[in-house]
């Protein structure tokens, strides 16, 4: 009887000891995980700060419906400072759906094949609703999470002024070439 009781106490003590050891380990693990989490958060913040003021339009859309998760300062300028986070590309730019841009995003999301474009014409609606020609150098790239397609990162430069200036120059050159050589014929 006494022996049994003693064994019970010993067992109880052992259980408390094991429980303590498990909790100490869990606390240690939890501290390590937290440290990693904080480091990841800090790194994420550094990248976000870098992207936020980068001299290009950077945005991240998530899911097959291409819902904005991040848009940097340059991008916000393009959309008249409206808050795009949470909205889909089609909601922010209804005018581009018929121009094949959303289909392009669908393709990138589906296949994982990045798309790069040079001086792609996009007709964007201005604040007055009028469509204006804009040209972009851009790249769309799919990102994955846990091995599954998660969204698309988009990087774009507005090269409208460059393209319009070049077009104007070409027109001028064309006119100069076609013009009769003044005065020499007479």
């Amino acid at each position: 009887m006494w022996v049994g009781c003693n064994a019970d106490i010993h067992e109880q003590k052992l259980m408390v000891e094991e429980l303590l050891e498990a909790n100490e380990q869990q606390a240690l693990l939890s501290d390590q995980a937290y440290e990693q989490y904080q480091r990841a958060q800090q790194q994420r913040q550094i990248l976000l700060d870098l992207f936020a003021d980068a001299p290009a339009m950077i945005s991240v859309v998530r899911g097959p419906e291409h819902r904005y998760e991040f848009a940097n300062t340059r991008f916000q300028e393009l959309v008249g400072q409206q808050d795009v986070v949470g909205k889909t590309v089609a909601e922010v730019f209804p005018e581009i759906v018929s121009q094949g841009i959303v289909a392009q995003l669908d393709g990138v999301f589906r296949t994982g094949q990045p798309v790069m474009g040079q001086e792609q014409l996009v007709r964007l609606a201005g604040p007055d609703g009028q469509l204006r020609d804009c040209y972009f150098n851009f790249s769309y790239q799919r990102f994955e999470e846990k091995g599954r397609p998660a969204g698309i990162t988009a990087y774009a430069h507005d090269v409208t002024e460059l393209v319009l200036t070049r077009q104007a120059l070409e027109q001028l050159r064309g006119r100069a070439t076609n013009a009769p050589e003044s005065g020499l014929a007479s």
């Binding site: 109880q12 408390v16 000891e17 429980l19 303590l20 869990q26 606390a27 939890s30 937290y34």
Partner: protein, 116 residues
């Protein structure tokens, strides 16, 4: 940076750790070191100081949480003293009070988590 569920999970782990350490004292697994009951050295108190206060410093709920934790530490010290005096069963029965404080802390953490 706003607090996440992960931050509050940290607090819960720290609070369970205190109960486990106290239990180990009352079952003779560990010596009762003064640091176990010192507020400044308590992991949950340190979490309140370094994680919670920078976000919620001015809230009355933070002071309430600190009070509950201080009461739990005092009660824990009292139980350890009883154990050292040989009042073993009485000291172990007192763990119920510690559980009550732990429940209060859990409720206070939950309510703070909702405001986060």
């Amino acid at each position: 940076m706003p607090l996440s569920p992960f931050d509050f999970q940290q607090a819960r782990v720290k609070q369970v750790l205190f109960k486990s350490r106290l239990r180990s004292v009352l079952y003779g697994v560990r010596e009762a070191e003064p640091a176990l009951f010192a507020y400044a050295e308590n992991p949950l108190a340190q979490w309140i100081q370094t994680v919670l206060k920078p976000e919620f410093g001015a809230l009355a709920a933070v002071r309430e949480l600190e009070n509950t934790l201080q009461q739990m530490l005092r009660t824990g010290q009292n139980l350890a003293t009883r154990y050292q005096r040989g009042l073993i069963e009485e000291a172990r029965a007192g763990l119920d009070q510690i559980n009550d404080y732990a429940d209060q802390i859990e409720a206070q953490l939950l309510s703070l988590e909702k405001t986060a």
